[in-house]
């Protein structure tokens, strides 16, 4: 029997897809939350940040409350063949919910420090709002956006609590690196657990090195 690489593949696709989702959702909410009236903004901010401070198992509990197969929304989605419980793509949902606040908050911080007169002058010159957003605002905020994306990816990759609540651990179906580490350790397969720990360590190191490289390249580009 060949070695089961499934947890690596599953973890990477869950982290990558949820990271893309969280990238757009985080930016969307960060951008529009800034325009809301203060009271609404305060309430929304609390709701959107809660998953960061709640224990991930509590997030998982809430996800089960909403998407559980006997809940209204869960039953509704079942009619379309979509089931978030005990499926690999349920992991995307769990990872996205937990990673979202990291993206949202760093993007919001970046947007708040953006010099609004740049957007205004673009508007008076006749540039479209979409052009201003993607070609002026985003590049000016890229440092914060990039940092948020990396944090969200790392968090999604390491997600355990909500994932194990929502999708459990089924080898070859829902197993991720972090749930595999726990399972192998639980059954006293210390060598197996250590192997996956090292894999995880390697991925995290590569991610962080990439970020540092991007940052220093950016600094050089500015200095040029």
């Amino acid at each position: 029997m060949s070695f089961d690489w499934y947890p690596l593949w599953n973890s990477l696709r869950i982290a990558a897809i949820s990271c893309v989702l969280v990238f757009f959702l985080g930016i969307f909410f960060a951008y529009y939350a800034a325009k809301l009236p203060r009271l609404v903004k305060g309430i929304l901010d609390v709701i959107l940040t809660l998953p960061m401070v709640l224990p991930p198992t509590v997030c998982g509990y809430f996800l089960l409350l909403i998407f559980g197969v006997k809940r209204p929304l869960g039953m509704f989605l079942m009619q379309f063949g979509i089931k978030f419980v005990m499926t690999w793509y349920g992991g995307i949902l769990a990872a996205a919910v937990v990673a979202f606040p990291l993206m949202y908050r760093t993007a919001r911080g970046a947007f708040e420090s953006f010099d609004q007169t740049l957007a205004y002058s673009g508007q008076t010159l006749g540039l479209s709002n979409a052009y201003i957003f993607w070609r002026i605002r985003m590049p000016a905020c890229r440092q914060g956006i990039l940092a948020g994306t990396v944090l969200a990816f790392a968090r999604a990759l390491g997600e355990y609590g909500a994932t194990s609540m929502l999708i459990g651990y089924t080898p070859g179906r829902t197993a991720t690196i972090s749930t595999t580490v726990y399972q192998l350790w639980r059954i006293n397969d210390e060598a197996g657990a250590l192997f996956w720990v090292l894999i995880n360590l390697a991925i995290s190191t590569v991610v962080l090195l990439t970020v540092n490289m991007l940052e220093s390249r950016q600094k050089k580009a500015v200095a040029k």
Binding site: D115, T117, L118, Y120, S121, G122, Q123, T124, L125, G126, L127, S128, Y131, R135, I136, P139, A140, V222
Partner: protein
């Protein structure tokens, strides 16, 4: 070729209420910071929305609260030079200026106009630089180039010289004035600096707490500000409450003097002003005994402070400013003022 503004907007503690008509040439809004001048420009550009009113430019309605018209900034064709120039930091000088040419569809025409404006503003050498590699004056030129290629029907300048070092300011004023002389539309400039207003504009409106006090030809405004706030903003240092006595005489209780004026005094006069430069030990009229208080030296001028002999104790000393070589050896016993230099202020 005219701009007609009639807008109201609640700004924190006060109401901004601006009625203004500006013709071709440079009109200046002169006011202390926080008086609503920049907000006025933002409303005209469409960045901010007034609570009510109407804005019309060369017959085009940009904003009309009753008709429900509020054009987005993109559709107004109004150029806005920001205080910090607002160059896009991630783009080169060329790319920045190309943003101003975003309405031009023909690529060859685009290139031609880009090269033309680079030449006109002497930016050819700087085309590939990023904004953070430019001096303040160069940044201003790039920002102007970006606005001028955009062919705006109205140009708004928000404190155009405040981000520059003092020694650069005067040469850039001349540069900008000459450049704007070729621009055949209305220019509205905001400043808190009376010298800039005097140097640059044909007419000036004084703004105080959201209201426009008077809009006059700039030289007329400085010669006859007409109101206390306008006198303060045009740099008059000596202002005191006054009572009309007859057509050419006014009594100033704080200073304990009766002054005669050249211009007839209307009913409703509330104060008089005397500019610090206009005292003269040799003048025979409005001549009163004075007492020396203190002085302060500047590189080329001296500021002397004195009190009239009959001045009340709680009114501030009076400023007299003169060039150093004209400073008398001993402080004069009496000082006079020509009746033409008594500013009559109504509120």
């Amino acid at each position: 070729m005219s701009l007609i503004v009639d807008i109201r907007k609640q700004l924190g503690s006060f109401l901004m209420d601006v009625q203004l008509t500006a013709e071709r040439g440079i009109t200046c809004l002169l006011g202390a910071s926080g008086c609503g001048k920049s907000m006025t420009l933002k409303c005209i550009a469409g960045i901010e929305k007034p609570d009510s009113g109407r804005i019309e430019l060369d017959g085009r309605v940009l904003y009309d609260s009753e008709a429900g018209i509020h054009l987005p900034p993109q559709a107004r064709k109004v150029g806005y030079l920001f205080q910090n120039y607002a160059l896009f930091p991630n783009m080169t000088v060329r790319q920045n200026i190309l943003c101003g040419l975003c309405r031009e569809r023909n690529p060859e025409e685009k290139k031609r106009r880009l090269e033309e404006v680079l030449r006109l503003l002497q930016l050819e050498e700087l085309g590939e630089r990023k904004p953070n590699q430019l001096s303040g004056g160069q940044q201003q030129r790039v920002a102007l180039a970006r606005i001028l290629v955009n062919d705006p029907q109205l140009l708004l300048l928000d404190e155009p010289f405040s981000a520059l070092d003092g020694h650069l300011r005067d040469s850039l004023k001349i540069e900008l004035r000459d450049l704007l002389a070729r621009y055949d539309h209305t220019v509205l400039m905001v400043t808190h600096d009376r010298n800039e207003a005097y140097n640059m504009s044909q007419s000036t409106a004084v703004m105080h707490q959201g209201r426009l006090l008077s809009c006059k030809p700039t030289k007329t405004l400085f010669a006859d500000p007409g109101s206390v706030q306008a006198a303060v903003m045009t740099g008059c240092k000596n202002i005191a409450p006054a009572e009309r006595v007859d057509e050419h005489t006014v009594y100033v209780p704080d200073w304990g003097v009766r002054l005669s004026s050249r211009d007839p005094i209307r009913e409703g006069l509330t104060a008089v002003g005397i500019r610090a430069h206009y005292f003269n030990p040799g003048a025979p009229q409005n001549r009163f005994p004075v007492v020396y208080v203190q002085e302060m030296e500047e590189p080329f001028e001296t500021i002397l402070q004195f009190r009239y002999a009959a001045q009340t104790a709680d009114s501030p000393p009076i400023w007299w400013r003169l060039s150093k070589e004209k400073r008398p050896q001993s402080f004069p016993e009496e000082l006079g003022v020509s009746p033409a230099n008594i500013l009559l202020l109504y509120d």
